[in-house]
Amino acid sequence: METRPARAKARRQDGRDKGRESVVRNHTNEGTAVMISVEDAERYYAESDSAHGFDHVLRV
């Protein structure tokens, strides 16, 4: 059975995933070449920095 903290964590992740979909679309150059993909770039960032991490990068 899923615990309350686990459900809360899942909800937070779901919200992040939904927000992420829109910003990833923002970085998809339809019809234009890309030097690096979003997934490839993400590998170079640490997960722990909420202010300057990949969430910020995707909004830019």
Partner: protein
């Protein structure tokens, strides 16, 4: 990317610069070297062989020139687009949230009185502010955030900055009044 499209910039360069512009932050934290310079150097390495050298250099230059607390100003259209997009994420509701997230991570206070000369300091003098225990989000607002709207380089950036600036300024004004017991 939205600003790049609106300004007619080279989107391949803007996209790569946006995705890699902060990739060198851990180097800044470890060594003190500007993350803009570190990220530009890393971008050259990561992108090597993926595009023509002059296009990779255009990405690296845009990244090297994106820092508010830096000594370089953005020269190309793509560099100006990256600078404005990055600064838009430092103002508005997101900017407020980020300022307090940084303060929390650095164990800084929520508020402290800000000396009048803080706002007059040159941008590059604030390089180490975020690691200073006496720095607060209010200092960041007076030193940097309040000036970003008027420092935008593109017309799209200037337009988008207007409302974000109003929201952010209203928040810090309210914070000041609540701390003073006036609200």
């Amino acid at each position: 990317m939205r600003i790049g499209r609106e300004e007619g910039a080279d989107l391949e360069i803007v996209q790569a610069a946006a995705l890699l512009h902060d990739v060198g932050r851990p180097i800044e934290e470890a060594t003190g070297v500007s993350h803009a310079e570190a990220s530009a150097a890393m971008a050259r390495e990561i992108l090597a062989g993926r595009a023509a050298p002059e296009r990779i250099e255009a990405v690296a230059c845009a990244i090297a020139q994106h820092r508010y607390r830096g000594t370089q100003t953005p020269q190309s259209l793509e560099a100006r687009v990256l600078f404005d997009a990055d600064k838009l994420d430092a103002i508005g509701a997101i900017g407020v949230a980020r300022a307090f997230a940084v303060a929390g991570a650095q164990r800084q206070h929520l508020w402290a009185e800000v000396a009048e000369d803080v706002a007059a300091r040159p941008a590059e003098e604030g390089r180490d502010d975020l690691r200073n225990a006496d720095h607060t989000p209010m200092h960041e607002f007076r030193f940097k955030l309040v000036k970003l709207r008027d420092g935008m380089f593109t017309s799209a950036g200037r337009r988008l900055a207007e409302e974000r600036h109003r929201v952010m300024a209203a928040f810090f004004d309210r914070l000041e009044r609540e701390v003073a017991g006036d609200a």
